[in-house]
């Protein structure tokens, strides 16, 4: 086994060169280069973390704005609905008034018409009475030859008409 057989002859040179090479590795690479690499990694990590936090904040802000927008929307809608309801109520009142005035006019017209109808029917009845009295006097004169007075005839006709 050369590790043992050559130990006495080679241990000093092995240790010497190991210290030289490993020392170089430690001081040049370990102390000189590794911290720089690590700082690069750390800078990247912190940048990523910062960007993520920024994105999260932006998200939160967007959410907030959306909520505000939504609240505004709801307010606007409520206001619009109130306006619509008010307008509806106003319109209903106006149309009610109109209907009432129209009703009154119509009722007036109807009552006037009724009055004229009644007057017409009264005058028609009087005419019928007069005609009937004449006819009755004629009938009395023809049948009995007696002359009935217009007053008697009218009274008779009135009585007959009252009986239906």
């Amino acid at each position: 086994m050369p590790q043992i057989a050559q130990l006495a002859a080679t241990y000093s040179s092995q240790i010497f060169w190991l210290l030289i090479t490993f020392g170089l590795v430690f001081f040049v690479i370990g102390l000189g280069m590794v911290p720089k690499i690590q700082s690069t990694v750390e800078a990247r990590d912190s940048k990523i973390a910062g960007d993520l936090a920024e994105a999260k904040a932006a998200f939160a802000r967007a959410d907030e704005i959306e909520a505000q927008q939504r609240a505004k929307d709801a307010d606007n809608r409520a206001a619009a609905q109130a306006m619509v309801a008010e307008a509806k109520a106003k319109a209903a009142k106006a149309s009610e008034k109109q209907i009432a005035t129209a009703d009154a006019k119509i009722a007036e017209k109807i009552s006037a018409a009724e009055a004229s109808i009644r007057a017409a029917s009264v005058s028609a009845l009087q005419e019928i009475e007069a005609v009937s009295a004449d006819a009755a006097r004629d009938m009395v004169a023809k049948i009995s030859g007696a002359q009935a007075t217009p007053e008697a005839a009218a009274a008779a006709v009135k009585a007959a008409l009252a009986h239906g």
Binding site: Q3, A9, Y11, S13, W17, T21, F26, G30
Partner: protein, 261 residues
């Protein structure tokens, strides 16, 4: 060594000086530049290229940058999970340790023998793994005593230990603590050595059986080769797992030093 049909599966671990054999000395110790040192340098260069490729520092990473950031993130998470936020400051060390061992293991597995370069896995030498383990262990000791002074010894007395049990528990915990660098170093060394030996033994089967004749080659060589493919995949997994285990245990020990249980 393929002399007279004999293949030595241990030869891959032998250290061969490339230059500076005799006269490179440091305080009386030989510091020759060997194949082991060559692969350490190669590992360092490959690791530097890999990490440097991920230094573009772009906000949206490319593939290479993402790969490097995957590894730093992996070790960062490992430390955070096992040593808490106090473990963050050990990131340079644990990252260096993990990547150095990982690349050493993986580079040693490369089939470069096909082009005449002999890969050498220096993590299969306990001199190296032991040195790394001692390094990790020293950090634990230094941090532990610096942070908690002598209170660090309370690490060896678990919470809720009855008073009469303390004289018994303390040595046991102390021994289990002192064994840590050995288990840390030996685990990596054994895993790497065993895997490479197994691969070389099977490769020896393939070569020797084929040399012995077509029939032997079909009967022994082909199944051995199929097994080698599977074990190579397994070895890559082991290379990653052992690097991970080394880093994981180091961070666990660091946690002990930082938080005392």
């Amino acid at each position: 060594m393929a002399e007279s049909g004999k293949i030595d599966p241990m030869h891959q671990f032998s250290i061969e000086p490339l230059f500076g054999t005799d006269h490179w000395q440091l305080a009386g110790h030989n510091i020759a530049f060997t194949n082991s040192a060559l692969w350490m340098v190669a590992t360092t260069i490959v690791l530097w290229i890999f990490v440097a490729g991920g230094m573009k520092r772009e906000l949206v990473p490319g593939r290479w940058q993402a790969a490097v950031e995957f590894f730093t993130g992996f070790i960062d998470k490992l430390l955070l999970e096992n040593a808490g936020s106090a473990g963050k400051k050990y990131m340079p060390y644990v990252f260096s340790l993990f990547m150095f061992i990982l690349l050493a293991n993986l580079l040693g597995l490369l089939p470069l023998g096909l082009v005449g370069v002999h890969p050498f896995t220096f993590t299969s030498h306990f001199t190296v793994t032991g040195a790394l383990a001692v390094l990790s262990f020293s950090i634990v000791l230094i941090v532990g005593f610096f942070k908690h002074k002598l209170h660090f010894f309370s690490l060896f007395v678990p919470h809720g230990t009855p008073l009469p049990m303390i004289p018994v528990i303390f040595p046991i915990e102390l021994v289990s603590f002192m064994v840590r660098p050995f288990s840390l170093g030996l685990r990596l060394f054994v895993a790497m050595t065993a895997g490479h030996v197994l691969l070389k033994v099977l490769a020896g089967f393939v070569i020797n059986s084929t040399n012995a004749g077509v029939g032997y080659g079909a009967l022994v060589g082909i199944p051995s080769f199929a097994l080698m493919i599977g074990i190579s995949a397994l070895e890559m997994l082991v290379a990653c797992i052992q690097a991970y285990v080394f880093a994981l245990l180091t961070s666990l020990y660091i946690n002990d030093a930082e938080h005392l249980h």
